[in-house]
């Protein structure tokens, strides 16, 4: 940020104040005219009236919120503002029951414990990064090919009537090629996603506590020959920051340990591979942490290489609690 911050904040506050005033003037004029002098009204009740009323009300709300946000930013300290935002407009009720034992700034445990395992206590949720790409490929292929189909109907209809549209045919040739390639790309991604088979990971207990050991059970489904399979426990830092007008997120692995490294083996339908192992959380490990722009994540990463398939990687996030919380959790109730 350059320049004198006070002038910038003042400018922003004035901008939102003027927005608010314009909204109030427009709103009162439109609504007041409507009720006080209906005979001389310019805008009759209808789409135009409701549109102008909505826009004016939006200006009032936007201006008021923006103005007070800027004023609070100048008039109060960071700590005071944070306290105001924590309390909210209406004070929050105190947390009761199990939620009250959640340590501050640690991600909640609920998404990790709502799925019981077949042999061990919990089945961990899988975080697969390829889902977004697969959906995007699928949607693109579907819409593009639907569009090409409509154009093909027009082109064929023209041919049947004896009116051959050469420009449409010239456009259809590259269009159909793109449609076929996008379909091929989607099918390839889909087969890769389902072909290797699912991976499930079960764990003895959650949350994880520094200095403790836990049993793990990996189950790999599918019909394939695995060349190499490894399980790693990873601690990763995540930071989000503004870079010009972009918002960027950076990841950095700060700690990792290999839990299992398995060589070549074969898996068949109905006979999944089951591997048992043990993870040990280092006694000096940092707990999981989550704030608005920064985070510390712990996860178990399963990586595999299979014959005739590209290598795959599946992440299973876990939560590590701070050591002090452990004693309370382990106490009998």
């Amino acid at each position: 940020m350059s320049g004198w911050w006070f002038v910038g904040s003042l400018g922003e506050a004035l901008f939102f104040a003027s927005f608010f005033l314009v909204g109030v003037v427009c709103f009162t004029t439109i609504v007041g005219w409507q009720f006080l002098s209906p005979s001389t009204q310019v805008v009759r009740i209808g789409y135009g009236f409701w549109l102008l009323t909505t826009v004016s009300a939006a200006c009032i709300v936007l201006g008021a919120v923006g103005f007070w946000y800027r004023v609070l930013k100048v008039a109060t300290s960071d700590e005071h503002r944070e306290i105001i935002s924590q309390r909210g407009i209406v004070p929050r009720p105190k947390q009761l029951g199990s939620k009250s034992i959640l340590p501050p700034s640690v991600p909640p445990l609920t998404p990790f414990t709502d799925s019981p395992g077949a042999k061990l206590a919990f089945r961990l949720p899988c975080e697969w990064k390829g889902t977004g790409a697969l959906v995007a490929y699928g949607l693109f292929a579907m819409f593009w090919n639907a569009m090409m189909a409509v154009f093909c109907v027009f082109a064929i209809g023209g041919v049947l009537k004896g009116d051959i549209q050469y420009r449409l045919f010239a456009l259809l040739i590259p269009g159909i090629y793109i449609g076929l390639r996008s379909g091929q790309l989607f099918l390839k991604s889909y087969i890769q996603a389902i072909g290797i088979g699912s991976t499930t990971l079960e764990i003895e207990d959650l949350p994880l506590i520094p200095g403790q050991k836990y049993k793990l059970l990996l189950v790999q489904y599918g019909r394939l020959v695995i060349k190499k399979l490894s399980i790693r426990l990873v601690c990763e830092e995540e930071s989000t920051y503004h870079f010009g007008t972009d918002i960027r997120t950076e990841h950095q692995i700060v700690r990792q340990q290999i839990i299992l490294d398995q060589g070549r083996f074969r898996i068949d339908w109905g006979r999944p591979l089951e591997l048992e192992c043990e993870i040990s959380i280092p006694a000096d490990a940092m707990h999981s942490f989550q704030s608005l722009h920064n985070a510390i994540h712990w996860k178990i990463i399963v990586e595999g290489e299979a014959n005739r398939w590209p290598s795959y990687c599946r992440n299973f996030p876990v939560v590590v609690y701070p050591l002090a919380r452990t004693s309370q959790l382990k106490q009998p109730s």
């Binding site: 501050p104 722009h293 920064n294």
Partner: protein, 123 residues
């Protein structure tokens, strides 16, 4: 001035943090408000995050009722997390922060860092 009442600036989760603060060379009538807070903040590559664990604001009668000839003592029980941490992309640090707001619009800030937990700092 802020002074932590303790032999070393490292505290364990759930311990009580005891500190005192005072302002010297300023007439008490010149102070319009005081904010004493215990906060954690992140530093590093990411945008800075701030968490307020304890916040106390003194104004008006509460401010004039205080005896400023002796340091003001505050006791705050510390939470379980986040623990102080020094990583590669981010650092989590704790501090006691006191802000004095004077009648002429001046703002004085004093800050005293401390460690929560012993992950990156040995006792």
């Amino acid at each position: 001035m802020i002074r932590l009442i303790g032999l070393q600036p490292t505290y364990m989760p759930r311990e009580s943090l005891e500190f005192e603060y005072r302002v010297s060379n300023i007439n008490q009538s010149m102070i319009s408000a005081i904010e004493a807070s215990v906060v954690w903040l992140t530093e590093g590559k990411g945008t800075e995050d701030l968490g307020v664990h304890s916040f106390q604001r003194l104004t008006g009668n509460a401010l004039s009722a205080a005896d400023w000839t002796v340091p003001q003592r505050v006791v705050v029980p510390l939470p379980d997390s986040p623990l102080s941490y020094e990583g590669k992309l981010l650092k989590i640090s704790w501090c006691v922060r006191v802000r004095f707001y004077l009648n002429d619009g001046t703002e004085l800030v004093a800050q005293q860092p401390f460690y929560l937990g012993t992950i990156t700092k040995e006792v």
